[in-house]
Structure formats: C-alpha cells, structure tokens
Symmetry: C2
Subunit: 473 residues, 2 copies
Amino acid sequence: MWTKCHRFNGLLTVLPHWDKPLLYRYYGRQTVSSLFIPMMRTSDQSASASVSRKTILENAGLLKQSRPGLYYILPVALRAMYKLIKVVDEEMTRIGGSKLGTPCLIPADLWQSSGRWDTLGAEMFKLKDRHNRHYCLGPTHEESISELVGTYLNSKNMMPLRLYQIDRKFRDEIRPRLGLRRAREFWMKDMYSFDIDKEASLNSYEIICEAYVRIFKRLGLNVVKVVADSGAMGGDTSHEFHLIADDGEDEILICDQCHKAMNMETLKSGDVTAECNLCEGKQNKNIQKYRGVEIGHAFYLGTKYSKAASVTYTDENNCKVYVEMGSYGIGVTRLLDAALEIQSTSNKIRWPSVITPYNICIVPLGSPKDNSSQQLLQLAQQLYDKLAVGKLQNEVVIDDRIYLSKTVGPGTRLRQATLLGYPYLIILGKQALQKQGYIELEDQLNGSKQNIHIDNIVDHIQQVYEKRDICTL
Amino acid sequence: MWTKCHRFNGLLTVLPHWDKPLLYRYYGRQTVSSLFIPMMRTSDQSASASVSRKTILENAGLLKQSRPGLYYILPVALRAMYKLIKVVDEEMTRIGGSKLGTPCLIPADLWQSSGRWDTLGAEMFKLKDRHNRHYCLGPTHEESISELVGTYLNSKNMMPLRLYQIDRKFRDEIRPRLGLRRAREFWMKDMYSFDIDKEASLNSYEIICEAYVRIFKRLGLNVVKVVADSGAMGGDTSHEFHLIADDGEDEILICDQCHKAMNMETLKSGDVTAECNLCEGKQNKNIQKYRGVEIGHAFYLGTKYSKAASVTYTDENNCKVYVEMGSYGIGVTRLLDAALEIQSTSNKIRWPSVITPYNICIVPLGSPKDNSSQQLLQLAQQLYDKLAVGKLQNEVVIDDRIYLSKTVGPGTRLRQATLLGYPYLIILGKQALQKQGYIELEDQLNGSKQNIHIDNIVDHIQQVYEKRDICTL
C-alpha cells in the first residue's frame, strides 16, 4: 500500500520524512491536507461580537479580502467558479457562441471613438504605458469586439455571430461592498451578437436570454427577468436578470397576473403605482415588491458601436450596411457570491448543486496512535478508488488529516466537513472495520444520516449521481 | 432530421429563416460555421511579399493583434490554451498544488515592503484609483501570496504548502515582439511553495521541477532545464526551462557528457569557454550552443519574501521561524505561441497532440443545389453522433458550410481544414453515399490518406484514441 501507485504508476517520488503528509497526494487522490482552506477557528469568530452574513465566505476559508473590492478567491470557491464558468460555456456553445479572449488593457482611442471615455469617467481605471499612451482596464468590451469583428467581417454569411469571453473586468467602485458582489475586480461573461438587421438582432436577443434562463435554472436559482433601463450602453431594449434576495440593492416590481417584472429605476418618480402597466387593457392591482441582485443583463445596442468602429457588410444592392449588435453579461463572481450568501449559514455553505466544488468527502476518524487509523485510511482509499470513476472521477476528497489529530481533532474535522457543504459525507469510524462493517453516510442536502453496509455504499451513491446534473472539471 | 433534437430534446427554438445556418448548432453538435476563425484569404496573404513566420498564427485566424503586445486570442487558439491550462492543472494537483486566484491590482505598499516597487521600475504598469491609492498590475505575485499565507499560517503542519494560479500577468515591455512570446499582457502559471526549512524547500523545488518535466513531456516538446541567474527575484538557486528553437532569444550551452545546461547570461564575459564547468573533475570539450525560448523558471527564494511579509511559524522551542519559499512559473501563452510557431508552416498548424483544439473534422463536400448535399450532411451528423462519445465527446466538429458554397467552396474548406491541423479529417464525397460506401480518412499527423469503409471508421478512430493522451474540456 505504501509503495505502489495505482494511478500514476512509476512516477512516485521517494518521499523524505517531512513530506509524509503529502503521501496521499502522490497517489493522485485528492486530499483535504493539500487544499488551502484557511477557516477561521470558532474562537477567532466569536472575537467579533456577531458573525455578519457578509463574512460567511471568509470564515469558511473561501474568500479573503486583499484591499477593499479586491479579493483572493481561495481554492474551494475557485473550483466552484470554474464549474460555474463551465456551465455557462456549455449553454453558450449550444446557441452557437464562440469563445475568445480580449486584452484587459484597452487603448483610449477606442473608447474615445464611441464617446464612452468620458461618460464612464471615474468608474474606469485609467493608466499610461511607458510610451505615454493611454489605456483603461476594460469594464466591458463593446469597443474591443467591434474593432476585432470590423477587421474581418466581409459577408453577411458570417452572421449571426455570437462571440463571448469569460474573464476579469475592472471597475473603480467608489464604495466597494458586499464581497464579490460589488468588487473592483471581478469576473464576467460578456457576449456580443452581430446580426444583419434589427429583426435578426432581436432574435439573437431572445435566444441568448433563453440561454440565460437555462443557466439560472440549472443553478436552481430564483432569478427574474426584468425590464430595465439601457443607461450609458445605448440602444432601446434592455433586460436585467435579478436574483431575488432580501439584501439585494435593487427594487423589483413583479405583476402577479402577467408575471412581468420591472426595475424601479426604470420608473420616473411619481410614476410608481400599484398597477401593472405591462398588462395590456387589464386592470390589476397585484404588484409585488421584491429586492434583487442584478446578476445578468441584456442590451439590444442597435448600431451605436458598429458605427463607431465601422462594422459593415455589403448587401444585395452593393450598399454598406451597419451591423446590428447586442451585448449580454453575466456577473460570474457576483452570482457566485450572492447565491452562496443567500443559501448558506455560518455553519453550512450550501452550493448550487451543479457547481458544488467536491461532491463527496470521506472522513476516516481516529488518531495517529490508534492501530486502527492505518486501516481506516486504507479503507478510505479503497472507497475513494471505487467512487472516483466516471463523472465522479474528480469529485471525491479524503480528509487525510489523521496525522494532525493534536491540532485538528475528529470533532473539528467533522465540523469543517459540515461547514464546507459536501453533498455526501462518508464517515469511517471503528465499526466500519468490523466484519459486518457499517458506514455512516450523511446526505447534507436533505440532512439525513443512515448507516449503510460498506458493500452497498458505492452503488448507492453512483445511482444518485447517474441522474444528478453536476459539472465536472 | 430537421425537427428532432437528439441531444437537447425539447429545448429547440423555432428558427426563423435567417437562422438556418445556425440549425446545426442547435443540435448541440459543434460546427465550423459557429466558430470565429477569421483566416486571411490567400489573396490577402500574397499581398505582403512573403508571409513571415511570425504571422502564421494570425493568418490561420488564431490570433489578432490589438496593439503592440496586446492580443485577441481567437476561439481555436483559446481552446488550445484552456487545454494547456488543464494539463498544467493536472500535474500541479498531482504534487499537492492548490489553485487559487489573486487580484491583478496589487497595492503599492506590498511591493514597497519587498523593495521591488522601484527595482522593476518601468517594466511595471502602475496606476492610481479614484482615492489616489497606488497599484501595479501584477507581473508576478510573491508579495501577494506571502501576504495571504502570512495571515493564516499558524502551524508547521500546514506545510509543505504549494499554491498556484493560472492567470493574466502584465509587463510593460519596451519592445513587445514575437506575438505572445513577448507580450505586455500574457497568461502565466505561477506556483509558490512554503516549507519549514531550506532542506524541505529544496525538496519542493525538485518535486515541482519534475512536474514541469512531465508537463513538457506530455506536450512532446524539446525542453531543457538550464542553470540560471536569480536576477531581481532573490535566492541563490534558479533554473530555467528552455524550448529549443532556432529563433529563441536566449543562448544555451549544453554539455554532451553530463547533459547539464546553462544560460549564457549566467556566465561573466570572458568566462565563456568550450569546457563544461559542471562536469566535476573531468575534462570535456563537447559543449554545444543552442538557442532557446524561456517557457518556465524555478526560483528557490529563501526567506526574502517571508521576512517582508512576516510569514512565520512557531517551532518546538517556541521560536518564530521564517518560512522558506520558492517561486515557479510557466509562461502559458508564450509556450503555446512558441510551440506552434516552431512546428507549424503557413499551410499547416501543428499542435502538440495533447492540446489539439479539436481532434476530428468531418467535411461533407457538395453544394446547396446538389441533391446529395442533404444526404451528406445527414451522414456527417450520424458519424458525428457515433464518434462524439467518451473522451471524444467534445472533440469532433462538422464543417457545415455547404450552404456557403458560393463564397467558401469545397476546395477552400479542405484547404482550411488542412491548415487548422485537425489530426483526423473525414472527407465525405459522393462515393460515401454509394452502397459499398467508402470514406476518405486523412491522418494529418503522419500525412497518410486511406479509403475506409463507412462501417469501420468509428472503430478505427476510437481504437487510436484509446491509447492517445488527449486533454478534453
């Protein structure tokens, strides 16, 4: 057991004494000891009078503020973020989206052409290079993508064209707050559509909005599509996607009858009535107010940016026609933060099931001095190897910290495993080693615990995951 | 065939006339028409007297310069980059690496503490926020990671700790050149090791260097580990990893006898002899000069950064001990660019096999007016569905541009497919529809073509890929 490497045969390094804790890592199995999850200890937490909701992610070792609005995204949360990105990728690919990468540094002249260099003003980070040329750090990329597409577009056959990226964005928020929800550096998915005319562009708009709805549905989130204001973006059609949340910054009106929703911002003051002005011809008093976190938006842009960057094609009459554009964003880190904060407590993180960082944690109990500890670790590895196949290949993790029992005892390890919200906890105590070995299986999603025979546990879990939509990395 | 959706049943949108070209996308199959691959046409290319090696990637529609040193990474190349990132992730996970994300904006005080704010000088992009606080755009993250780890490290049991990220970096190159090889915005993998003493730190150093060797081996690249100078990083042990390339910017000396290598930079002028000073006691005249592209580096840092950021642990004697650090980089975009430029020609991109963006392209020939075109497209889809399973699930693409035959004829489509370097091309001509249907299968890696019976082609390809190491997204 100590010298043979199942997964990466022949590549095992001979380990010196100080690397013993790393032993399991070299087997290619994922272990808690190799993950950096710097949880605040309970004693540290109680030091601050009450744990505010805002620090749930920091206390759980998922996030750490560097400076206001700037965050370290720690390993477990980063894994969820990459899974979220993969879900978005899947849905964007399905509607013909093509993913590319643009530079964060955007030359000033592009934004001067579109007139936004001054409009966004202090919200933009601006800088100069050593040759004294001016740039901004991209908060959004309409100008860049238009420049790129304008270089190549030569036929209407290249459209509909739906380009997107998922990457860092920058915004010099005057008061960064609410963690990743209003940060100065954050991740966004931004898609840009190019179509031959307005009708086609609005068709793209619908198709992309439908993809958004599918994404939020897969995440199991209560998201509402809301009529919105176009603001500085240009164009005349715009919707936002709001995650309903008590501490959301926006006020949303939803009509009970037509189920349409509207951002309070779009109403002029004095315009606020209790009646829905979207229900045509009908009288309706049932408008409800909610609070929401804006996690997505869609803008039909018309030709504002295609004119600024000369994005044209030649039609049948040999005339140059400006391309119709749309712009579509999802705030990836904002969505992640808001979804976790809404559903979690200071004792348990609750992940959207599809992007759970790890689905199963195996926790062998015991201490280094127990003779049974070695056997429990061995059993944990056997279970790991049986479970970590197919779509669960990278979804299992062993809490191998038996050797740390002085500083991190079994109680702490169980508490941490609960906090991290693994959907399944497999707890290996001494009774697992008995001949009629039973194992405690905790389903953290529905809160149930059951003792299950060791021979049946793998089948049981695999059956559950056959049907469950999970994203794997 | 036109109304039933196999993969995403029930989610098919009713398509208006202008979206017909998108039809195949909605089937969840990957198609060339939905990818943005803006190749230069042959006529555009010949306009410039000779296609320089440097423009291979731009001509192939993989890369596009925005401004000097700033690049759009276009969809096909981006896919290769994400595969490269996944290969690196796999090898970093195997040695216990834990992946996190740090902000690009680094507050000035961190770099002032380490003394590097002035050392790097004009190479750094510097900027101020609206509150007049100073930042740089991170070219490397020793200071940031030390700050982060220093906050949490409280026990020697947390080590060895190996944290890494794969993300954008910034460097204000005075003369950006050679595409992504010397860009001002680029992607790097940077790992930082934290160990209890020097011996343990040098052990981490070896383990991480071995992982680098595995990465380059999987990529099939001729990479040499070279004794190097630590430069502004601090510490006294350093190695670079060089991809041997005729147009590399560095000069490398390799000893025929001990196989050790050295960067010319590490030698003082006048020190250059034809003898190896690493071969102890032996006389050896066989030193060879090569040129190389630096695609990786490793630094043993000692306690330079742990002292600046107070990263300590308490030992058995209750003394505070500064942690020993190492820093390890791989230039992700530089590696990608250099590997492609070395192996490719202006007629054919040659990918490192493991990160090939798509492994199989199905090209049905014909034009919209042919009656057989519909049948060929149908056949292409049937083949796609049989091939795109298991590890090939996202590796097949159909060139569905039959409807474009006026602007993009069969000859052009075949030429483009050759240029993009798919390992396998499946070419469907009319003979594929005959009863004894044979299909042309082109193996672009060894240049062979064969006619293979339609019933055998799937088995043939699947057998090949059972053994081939490919990265899938």
